[in-house]
């Protein structure tokens, strides 16, 4: 009994309408992000005392192993918005530009213009983005310069996920250089800048204050 499946793939082309304009000045105040309040729920009291036959209230199951420090060091490389975890290292815009041409441009385009939707545009600083009109204009690209609220995100993402075909292969110096190049190309920092931990911590993205906490609630109102 054979079930044979034949398939054809339809490839479709999407067109990105996007413009790249002059620099804009955004407000650099940090947005207040408040943790959503979820009512203490089902598992708040579900400890070992709640399971029939278990060791009893407040008692641990004694499962799991002490974390190996080498394993943790290998994995624990995330960088938050204050840049507290940023590693040592340094890279310039010029070094980043050279590296981008050899390692990234094949997918993201010579000047980071991308070939969306498969390969996102990395450079875009559109005057229309000044009003943050993304809800009204679906075609306005949410590129790094137009949209991203934190520069540390760029460092974290490039270091963990790029280049696509060899993720994790870049040195920290290279990640600083590529971040510098992309921030300069998006007119956030100057073309002659260099980035290290201290410099990256100081970078403020133009639209950071546009991000607001979720105000939807479990009620009747559509928001």
């Amino acid at each position: 009994m054979t079930l044979r499946r034949i398939s054809l793939t339809v490839t479709a082309s999407l067109i990105l309408v996007a413009a790249c304009g002059g620099p804009t000045n955004g407000d650099a105040r940090p947005a207040a992000i408040v943790a959503p309040t979820t009512a203490m729920g089902a598992f708040a009291d579900y400890d070992a005392g709640a399971v029939p036959g278990g060791p009893g209230k407040g008692v641990r199951y004694q499962l799991g192993h002490r974390t190996d420090s080498a394993l943790l060091a290998m994995m624990n490389r995330d960088v938050g918005p204050d840049g507290a975890e940023l590693p040592e290292g340094r890279g310039t815009v010029a070094q980043g530009a050279a590296l981008f041409a050899t390692t990234c441009a094949s997918c993201h385009g010579k000047s980071g213009e991308g070939t969306p939707p498969a390969y996102p545009r990395l450079v875009g600083r559109d005057p229309r983005a000044e009003h943050f009109a993304f809800a009204r204009d679906p075609k306005l690209p949410r590129s790094i310069g137009n949209y991203w609220p934190y520069a540390t995100t760029l460092f974290d993402y490039i270091r963990r996920s790029m280049p696509f075909t060899a993720p994790g292969s870049l040195t920290d110096d290279q990640v600083y250089a590529l971040s510098a190049y992309l921030l300069a190309a998006n007119r956030i920092i100057s073309d002659t800048a260099a980035l290290d931990a201290a410099a990256l911590r100081k970078v403020r993205m133009p639209y950071q204050n546009r991000f607001v906490p979720d105000d939807r609630k479990p009620d009747k109102k559509v928001r």
Binding site: M1, I6, S7, L8, T9, V10, T11, A12, L14, I15, V17, A18, A35, P36, T37, A39, M40, G41, F43, A44, Y46, A48, G64, H65, R66, D68, M75, N76, D78, G80, P81, P116, P117, P120, F132, A133, F134, A135, R136, P138, K139, P141, R142, Y147, P149, Y150, T153, Y157, R160, P167, G168, R210, F211, V212, P213, D214, P218, D219, K220, V222
Partner: protein
């Protein structure tokens, strides 16, 4: 109704824009099963947009009572007459949609659960894969999959929905869209796992911890920040799906399951959880999965999926040939709790009627509904509208356009439906 608008030229890439470019792949049917050992038939390739594939029927004996049937087998297969398939497929960074029209009840068969991944599906050895919990804890701990299975387990039924689901139907609704293309990025599963709270107690989470970072073990090391309240509420680390180990595409061997929250944050292939005091502002919660609003701001950390529903029968490309009674049936769900009510309209929303909820309405799960309808050959516009237990009523697309604008990118839960022509043909209706 029958002319077709050109493919959408929307730019935003992620989650499901490509759905409209790939057609329902009824193109693949081939093969035959019969007690005589099976007769192969050639497959008919490709239904191009707007055309129907010519149905090729498997060959079976005229009278199955006159000869012995097939023997037992190690792995079951669907009837050769049934070929539900995900579509589109073949993408490393992409998604495949659940064929909602072909399914019944609420549970999604594991092999038809929608897929969405950003660096392909990793191959992970369950004997080598571990989950580490560290940061603001008394004891950083690393669990093997075997360790995880030794904790007391819980069994819960929840849906997972990609927050980009229904984007194409919102941005550029087209009459020839199927339920799969409209809302196929939602699937429902009976999950088995351990409460995250149990693991947090084992590691001794410190009082100062307010958020945790969840990181997957795929090639993009997908990372998301989660407020700690969710762990004390209903978060799970799951390892089984509908009675068997997770499928690789759903996170094998371990997955974070945050009931009712947008799909992306249900981190698959989870390998690490770090407890901290503030969110990490990863790409996935800043550049993506934020919701621009018409007032020039964007919501960040929009986790809950609001009440939503879709009629799956009848739906395009169904053709109603017989007049008379039939159920109008579909699924409804809410990330905020139970579905309290589903209403169906057959006249485009002029009048609404309570539908019957089939089976229990479980929190953060799908419930199937039906409304009995007598078709007398008239034109009709079938719509469904869900209300959750907080009283939230699914809005129209027009209302969402006012509140969120045409460029909003996630959390589409507007009312959708199906136009039934006098001749019985059924077409998607998205402009509610």
């Amino acid at each position: 109704m029958t002319d077709h608008t050109p493919p959408t030229t929307d730019s935003h890439d992620d989650d499901n824009e490509s759905a409209t470019q790939h057609l329902s792949r009824r193109d693949l049917i081939s093969g035959a099963a019969g007690a005589l050992g099976g007769v192969m038939l050639g497959g008919l390739p490709m239904a191009l947009r707007g055309q129907q594939a010519m149905p090729i029927r498997p060959v079976v004996p005229v009278d199955a009572t006159k000869l012995q049937g097939a023997p037992t087998s190690p792995l079951g297969q669907r009837s050769a007459f049934e070929t539900p398939l995900r579509a589109p497929y073949g993408e490393t960074v992409g998604s495949s949609y659940t064929p909602l029209r072909e399914l019944a009840g609420t549970i999604t068969p594991a092999d038809l659960h929608f897929e969405r991944h950003h660096a392909g599906i990793p191959s992970l050895d369950p004997q080598r894969h571990t989950l580490t919990i560290h940061g603001l804890v008394d004891r950083p701990l690393t669990f093997t999959v075997h360790d995880i299975k030794r904790f007391p387990q819980v069994v819960r039924t929840y849906f997972v929905e990609c927050s980009g689901n229904t984007r194409s139907a919102y941005r550029a609704p087209r009459p020839d869209m199927t339920a799969q293309q409209v809302s196929g990025l939602v699937s429902t599963t009976e999950w088995t796992g351990v409460p995250l709270a149990t693991l947090f107690r084992e590691a001794g989470v410190k009082r100062e911890a307010k958020w945790f970072l969840a990181e997957g073990g795929d090639a993009c090391l997908l990372n998301r920040s989660v407020p700690i309240e969710k762990a004390w509420d209903d978060a799970l680390i799951v390892w089984a799906q509908n009675g068997e180990p997770l499928r690789p595409a759903q996170g094998y061997p371990l997955r974070l399951l945050l009931p009712g929250w947008e799909g992306n944050i249900n981190v698959k292939w989870i390998r690490r959880i770090e407890l901290g005091t503030r969110p990490w502002m990863t790409r996935w919660e800043t550049a993506k999965y934020t919701d621009p609003l018409p007032n020039g701001t964007a919501r960040i950390f929009t986790f809950e999926l609001d009440a939503k529903s879709i009629i799956t029968s009848p739906s395009h490309p169904d053709m109603i040939v017989e007049r008379g009674w039939r159920p109008v049936s579909g699924i409804a769900w809410s990330g905020r709790g139970r579905i309290a009510r589903v209403e169906v309209s057959t006249d485009g929303g002029r009048s609404w009627h309570d539908a019957e909820l089939l089976g229990p309405s479980l929190p953060k799960s799908t419930v199937r509904f039906q409304y009995l309808w007598e078709w007398r050959g008239e034109e009709a516009l079938l719509l469904s509208r869900a209300t959750d237990e907080a009283g939230f009523i699914q809005p129209t697309r027009a209302a969402m356009l006012v509140e969120r604008g045409p460029g909003t990118d996630y959390h589409f839960n507007h009312i959708v439906g199906w136009q039934v022509e006098r001749g019985g043909r059924v077409f998607f209706h998205g402009e509610t």
